[in-house]
């Protein structure tokens, strides 16, 4: 499988504070990769470095074989990186305007068509298209954030803690939506602490103290006693 995203020996941080050391990983076309780690392990910093919000001090990031670590965030997005953060929507804009924002550079007809596709995947949003996004429930906001990120038809969808702030029922719905998208061939990179999301992934990386402590298939992760004890507090999965 061709590699969509490759990060090699990434070092990144905030000013003088270095947070990531020698982090390398790859996401293949159509693959779902999950980044696990406790709070403060560097997951969010790594995702922010990938999309350009945190400067990369050393190493390289390639998107479809093209180096992007010096590009501005909007240029990386236009090259196929879709990003959904914990918030990620514009509360004062309507649902439909949020979707329009996600489809920059397309014709009006293309935007309408993609919005229709988004409403088909997330039917809760369709009757609220003229509503201000700030009035949506937490789950609907999450769906809107996901729909917005998909409007640009990204090559790789990067999700930062999609389970954050959601009830167990909404987590199940989010996983179902992501499974549907992944089933259509969308490559995904998830940063998560919730092990329910493991079912989506084929490959996993575990971060600790800004370094990769484990990498392997999800099956290998599930059978690695040290990882299970250290990160999931479990003795069997």
């Amino acid at each position: 499988m061709p590699v969509v995203l490759r990060a090699e020996a990434i070092e990144a941080g905030y000013g003088a504070l270095e947070v990531l050391w020698d982090v390398s990983f790859a996401v293949e076309d159509g693959q779902c990769v999950i980044l696990f780690g406790a709070n403060g392990s560097g997951k969010t910093t790594l995702l922010r470095a990938l999309v350009g919000l945190v400067p990369v001090m050393a190493g390289r990031i390639e998107l479809d074989g093209v180096r992007v670590e010096r590009l501005a965030p909007h240029e990386r997005v236009r090259r196929g990186l879709g990003y959904m953060s914990e918030l990620g929507i514009f509360p004062d804009l309507t649902v439909h305007e949020n979707l329009e924002i996600g489809a920059r550079g397309l014709s009006g007809q293309q935007v309408r068509r993609r919005a229709q596709d988004a409403y088909a995947i997330f039917p809760d949003l369709a009757p609220r298209r003229r509503e201000v996004a700030g009035r949506l429930s937490g789950g609907q906001r999450k769906m809107l954030g996901l729909a917005k990120a998909l409007m640009g038809r990204p090559r790789l969808l990067v999700l930062d803690e999609p389970s954050a702030g959601l009830s167990p029922r909404l987590i199940k719905e989010t996983i179902a939506a992501l499974r549907h998208l992944h089933g259509q061939g969308l490559a995904m990179l998830l940063a998560e602490q919730n092990i329910s999301f493991l079912e989506l992934a084929q490959y996993a990386y575990v971060l600790e103290g800004g370094r990769v402590r484990f990498s392997g298939t999800v099956a290998q992760l599930e059978h690695n006693d040290a990882v299970r004890r250290a990160y999931f507090g479990l003795t069997g999965l």
């Binding site: 999309v51 919000l53 501005a72 965030p73 909007h74 997005v77 236009r78 990003y83 953060s85 918030l87 990620g88 929507i89 514009f90 509360p91 004062d92 804009l93 305007e97 329009e100 924002i101 996600g102 920059r104 550079g105 917005k148 640009g152």
Partner: protein, 302 residues
Amino acid sequence: MLKAVLTGVATVGLFALAPVFYANQTLLFSAMMYLVLAQGINVLYGFTGYLPFGYVGFFGAGAYAGALSVLRLGLSPVLALVVGGVVAVLVGVVLVPLLRLSGAYFAIANLAAAQALYYVVSNPDLQALTNGPYGINLAVAYNATASYAAMVALLGLALATVVYLRHSRLGLALRAIREDRISAELAGINVVRERTIAWLLSALLAGLCGAAFAWYISVFYPETVFSLNVSIFAIVFALFGGAATLAGPIVGTLVLYGLYSAIGISQPEYFQLIFGLVIVGLVLFLPDGLASLSERAGFEVP
């Protein structure tokens, strides 16, 4: 969209026909001037969140560039308007780095830039070029009717700009940037470019307006066209009505400039008091302007 276009056409039509029914053309001209400036502020503040206290710098640069291009280069007043707009845009280009700042830092730096421009223009050592502190006499080009018509056209341009921003993808991108710059960037929006476009559009409107003012008034001094009051009036008018709407700055300007005309000249002390109270009341009770009252009542403001 239709409501906004009709509002714009009605406003322009009102000022185009008003001299037929109302003799004080200077008052009408000044009201239009502040309408254009309030919409220029609206383009910047309403759509990007930058509050330019030094906005008068563009106005003054346009006034001087327009007037000097008539006096020194012999250009026609209409071409001089274009020069005024272009020079204001060039000043805007020089000041683009200010957009890296935000909030009070931007406001102070912008104000300082306008003051610097004022001191350059009024410098006695530059008398050969700008006539220094002795001001400009443009009587050679004086034409009240033509300059009034030019301001009507400018008003149309300013309103059309806001209608465009309210209903275009550029305007949508700017509103997204105003809400959350980082999320906007992560949605693929080129934040620097879009903000710069709004900044320069705003500068263009003020520059054209300054050149039209110079043509109409024909005699002015540096302190007239670089007066901080010009910025403050335009900002308060825009915010009083409601930024990011077309109708808000129109209503704000008509109400407050009407008040100024009624008592501001004859009894300035009362006007200053009322104006101060209006600003305090606006900040405390109606931060989104009169337009927000209408929106709360369920009426969409164009």
